[in-house]
């Protein structure tokens, strides 16, 4: 399952990556802070993220891939396999987190992470993939649109 592209390797995440992956995931959550006060990152987030990443490694319904550049984790993608009981196909992979370190962007790392995860999903019989992110993230909108994704569901929020 190892794959080479340029100066980095895509591989499954391992226990010893937890610290580095957590840093990237935390950066992603902080990036969302930009879009709306409802994305204010809670103070305990660093520990919560570490737990979230560690648990992801243990779960069968979660795929966690990293882009490894000479031992440095420069990108991460996390996918949850969820069921959709009313519709065909019955299961979908949901990209909950995708982040690439700024200086490694524009080299196709994000695309490679997503296409690698799609390959794994297919091999597990999953034929639908989606991605969750704030609608104000125009860069993500453009990225997924270019990769052939389309919007299929709105999630509206209101403070009550």
């Amino acid at each position: 399952m190892f794959m080479e592209k340029g100066e980095y390797t895509i591989r499954s995440a391992r226990k010893e990556d937890i610290e580095q992956i957590s840093d990237l995931v935390l950066r992603l959550k902080k990036l969302n802070e930009e879009f709306d006060p409802l994305y204010t990152v809670r103070q305990e987030a660093p520990e919560v993220v570490r737990k979230y990443v560690a648990e992801s490694l243990d779960r069968d319904d979660i795929i966690l891939l990293v882009a490894d550049s000479l031992g440095k984790i420069v990108g991460v993608v996390r996918v949850e396999i969820r069921s959709r009981i009313f519709y065909e196909p019955l299961i979908a992979g949901v990209i909950t987190d995708l982040y690439v370190l700024p200086s490694y962007r524009r080299k196709g790392v994000g695309e490679t992470l997503v296409s690698s995860v799609i390959k794994i999903l297919r091999s597990r019989g999953v034929s639908l993939v989606s991605a969750e992110f704030p609608p104000m993230n125009k860069i993500a909108v453009e990225f997924y649109t270019n990769m052939g994704f389309k919007p299929l569901m709105y999630v509206f929020f209101k403070e009550i």
């Binding site: 950066r27 902080k30 990036l31 930009e34 370190l101 700024p102 200086s103 962007r105 524009r106 993230n137 125009k138 860069i139």
Partner: protein
């Protein structure tokens, strides 16, 4: 022209300029006007210049719209457009208050470059609205000079308009200053005998002029990895906490954050200067923004451009005492003034004379090299790396160089030989001045 506050002079001298300026603006009710340039001997002549005769040039232009560059005054007309969102050091004061500044710019355009410039402050805060307005007025102008627009909006507006208009669009606060910086840097490097591809350059301040300057210096051969940029939050590097935020809010600064600073240096101004060959500061008024001790920690023969106005980030004599070989500022009362007034009048003179469709980065570099060469021919010294405003010939030489470059690039509407272009430029600069002097002699302007 009025120089900046004189060395050692207190605020009272600046206050005197303010009072005098207000009084004279009131007395003259503005500084420019529109004058006919064709002879009108009798009222019958209006049948030529207006109806019915004028229908014929209109028909010709309808068939071939580019004829508007040879049958009307469009070719020499520049709009000085602003939303008034960052006027001088006054901040976001809006369109009407920016008028005196735009009109002043128009005065310099005419006086230094023979360019007819129209002040055009517009009520458009939203960048899309601003862009649409400028696009709508394109048919009336041969060029657009954007002025005093806040960052990062100014980057977005310039980028869009450069792409979407087929006349030159220029943002003086970015490109004018960047061109002058590059010219000064080319010569400063010659003095210390270093190559642009080898030197490390620290930019202090990441506003309109320094972002444009960093990009043009990279285009001219500086290695992006050897550049370190510092803003109000410290050294810019690709893993700084706010870099993702910059990706959305200021993609131009973001771009430099990921391209520059290969060694991932972190810290403040002092850390950014350690070992650097060149510092280009366009940040906030000094003195004391850059300290003498920090200059001492730079590489051998440091080059210091301290461009904040009215007071540079470090006084030139302090920089020299600390070992700086070449020092430049933004002020006319010190040697080596990095001044965009050396750039925009002849940049536009050159492009308008050939009906250029754009001002490309190649043309900007050509201009800077010509400016640098001019000073070099006169003899470079540590206190003479860039021509002064008094050196008239430099306006003609730079205009000529940029006009020729536009023709080489094939983006000209009017093709002239070098000789014809030179004559046209000379005439365009000399005739308005002669007319103006005649009016003064006749006592019609006093």
């Amino acid at each position: 022209m009025v120089s900046d506050t004189q060395r050692g002079a207190g605020p009272s001298s600046t206050d005197r300029w303010y009072m005098l300026s207000l009084r004279l603006h009131r007395e003259y009710r503005g500084k420019i006007e529109i004058m006919p340039k064709i002879p009108i001997k009798s009222l019958d002549d209006f049948a030529i210049w207006y109806t019915p005769g004028v229908a014929e040039p209109s028909r010709a232009i309808a068939k071939s719209p580019d004829l508007s560059f040879s049958l009307t005054s469009r070719w020499n007309m520049v709009a000085v457009v602003t939303d008034g969102s960052r006027v001088l050091g006054l901040g976001n004061i809006g369109p009407e208050p920016s008028y005196p500044v735009m009109e002043g710019k128009a005065l310099l355009f005419k006086y230094l470059g023979g360019v007819d410039a129209i002040p055009l402050p517009i009520r458009a805060r939203d960048p899309e609205e601003f862009i649409n307005i400028v696009k709508s007025v394109e048919p009336a102008f041969g060029g657009i000079n954007l002025e005093d627009i806040e960052s990062p909006k100014c980057f977005y507006i310039l980028e869009r308009l450069r792409k979407e208009l087929s006349i030159p669009v220029w943002h003086d606060d970015q490109q004018g200053t960047a061109t002058a910086i590059l010219a000064g840097l080319i010569n400063a490097l010659k003095i210390v005998n270093k190559k642009i591809s080898d030197v490390s350059i620290t930019f202090i301040g990441a506003g309109a002029s320094n972002i444009a300057a960093a990009n043009i210096v990279i285009k001219h051969g500086a290695k992006p990895g050897n550049i370190v940029m510092v803003d109000s939050k410290g050294i810019l590097h690709s893993e700084r906490d706010d870099v993702d935020k910059l990706m959305f809010e200021n993609p131009w600064k973001y771009d430099l954050a990921i391209k520059t600073n290969a060694e991932h240096r972190k810290g403040g101004i002092r850390d950014a200067l350690r070992g650097a060959d060149v510092v280009i500061a366009a940040s906030r008024p000094g003195p004391g923004v850059i300290r003498k001790e920090w200059i001492e920690e730079m590489n051998k023969d440091p080059i210091v451009f301290a461009l904040a106005n009215p007071v540079p980030e470090i006084w030139p004599w302090e920089a020299r005492e600390a070992g700086a070989r070449v020092v430049a500022t933004g002020r006319s009362d010190f040697p080596n003034q990095i001044n965009n007034s050396l750039v925009f009048p002849s940049m536009f003179r050159g492009v308008l004379s050939v009906g250029a469709k754009a001002i490309t980065d190649e043309m900007i570099i050509e201009f800077a090299e010509t400016l640098a060469r001019y000073a070099e021919k006169k003899g470079l010294r540590e206190d003479y790396i860039i021509p002064t405003m008094e050196e008239w010939e430099v306006f003609i030489e730079t205009a000529l160089a940029v006009g020729i470059k536009a023709m080489e690039l094939g983006i000209n509407r009017i093709t002239l030989t070098r000789e014809e272009l030179l004559n046209s430029i000379r005439e365009q600069i000399a005739v308005p001045r002669a007319k103006y002097e005649a009016l003064i002699r006749a006592g019609l302007i006093k």
